[in-house]
Assembly symmetry: C2
């Protein structure tokens, strides 16, 4: 064999041998070579994952928009398998709790659901509106609500149907307003929800109230009517905390916006 | 050039060209070839990350030990940069809130800290005890407490010192018992904590109470004494919820154990 051939063979074999020694090898891409891109992304991912946890545990407190450095992270999270998996696990633990409840059978065993980012997903809207980067725009969101096109959150639809089978009465308690009743009902039915006991929307006397106050008052009314609120599902702590809280509250993930 | 050389060159160049087209390439390693190892690990990581979120948001409710499939995940999380980053972000948002509080300056502005997995880290103990895989063993944990060797959680030590500088009175409210007072004080001092207003441990009348009850009662006593509890930091919801709660509560991460 000519020396050139031997030389090339040695390079080739040692390259392949190096490649095979690890399952994943990183080679410089254009982006790597262009500078700090990957380092910054990795640091952002670490920080933004911690920011997201602090949002979900309510450590952050009130916030108006997703931090600029976390917008890509949130977009990736919401569109990827993590959001879906996180929602599914919440659905499973809710369902395990529901199965453990001894229902009285008097028609007063209740479960309360929030709607947006709980039963319905507004991800198609937020995909076109910066994934929480922009401050909430009521006009454009209301236009989206009127379209009645929001898909169901798959994990919540499964839970909803199981609760009905178990015999729970389902109450839908939303921050949406009375004038959105028709669009909301249409959307829920199109998304596969059915047989709710009552859909509670903000009436004229509820306007301007913090969600945590408005929702607590409505739950208190249900308790006064004799309902036992065993479970409550929502993506905001203001769906769940306050007074007349459920025996068990289930917080669905939502790193896109905050409602006080 | 001889045909053999040309042939080898073409293979070599096309291999390198393929490698360069993406920044990360996966080649089969022994583990990949051996079967489902990587797939199972990836599925476990996705599930266990969702399980951890459900723990941190208290969706899971009471649990006795880390699920078997998540023990490796928890070990990796606790020992890696994510636990450290998550704790740091909680410290930063706590500190931002503390700076926003207008202190009265009458010596009644209070902050309440839990101790274990809040001020002190028992990670060296849990590293030797399965990272939450095993059900809590009071005897071996008490032996560890007596050693007074737990290091500070770095993020909490920074917050603690800033709170002192801002003028907060610091109360340490722990589920540890009175007989552990000396070991606890020694450990806190060795870890760098100093100048607390009061260290509150379980007395004989507190034994057997749920943590959420015991801690609520002790906070209520502070409020009766005229303290305004602006902030509270703990790794368990039972450190933070109940009654006489702080104006703002900060939940530190802990996927290793649950205290009701």
């Amino acid at each position: 064999m000519a020396p050139t051939v031997s030389f090339l063979l040695i390079i080739f074999i040692s390259t392949i041998s190096y490649i095979s020694s690890e399952s994943v090898i990183r080679f410089p891409s254009e982006k790597d070579l262009s500078g700090r891109f990957h380092k910054v992304r990795a640091e952002d991912d670490l920080y933004c994952d911690s920011w997201r946890l602090a949002v979900e545990t309510n450590n952050i407190g009130p916030w108006k928009s997703v931090p600029a450095r976390c917008v890509n992270f949130v977009a990736k999270y919401m569109g990827g398998e993590r959001y879906s998996s996180d929602s599914k696990v919440v659905g499973k633990v809710s369902s395990a709790f529901a199965e453990s409840v001894e229902l009285d059978g008097d028609g007063r065993d209740a479960w309360v659901f929030d709607i947006d980012e709980t039963l319905l997903s507004n991800l198609p809207y937020y995909e076109n509106n910066g994934f929480g980067k922009e401050i909430f725009n009521e006009t454009s969101f209301n236009d989206w609500v009127d379209k009645a096109e929001a898909p169901a959150l798959a994990a919540s639809l499964d839970l909803y149907n199981e609760l009905l089978e178990l015999g729970f009465k389902i109450f839908l308690l939303t921050g949406r307003s009375e004038h959105q009743r028709n669009a909301t009902e249409t959307n829920l039915l199109l998304a596969g929800y059915d047989k709710w006991e009552r859909l509670i929307l903000r009436g004229s006397s509820d306007q301007g109230k913090l969600a945590i106050i408005y929702k607590s008052e409505k739950r208190a009314q249900l308790v006064e009517e004799g309902y036992r609120i065993h479970g409550s599902s929502g993506d905001q702590w203001s769906d769940l905390w306050g007074h007349a809280v459920a025996s068990r509250s289930f917080k669905l993930p939502n790193p896109m916006y905050y409602i006080p």
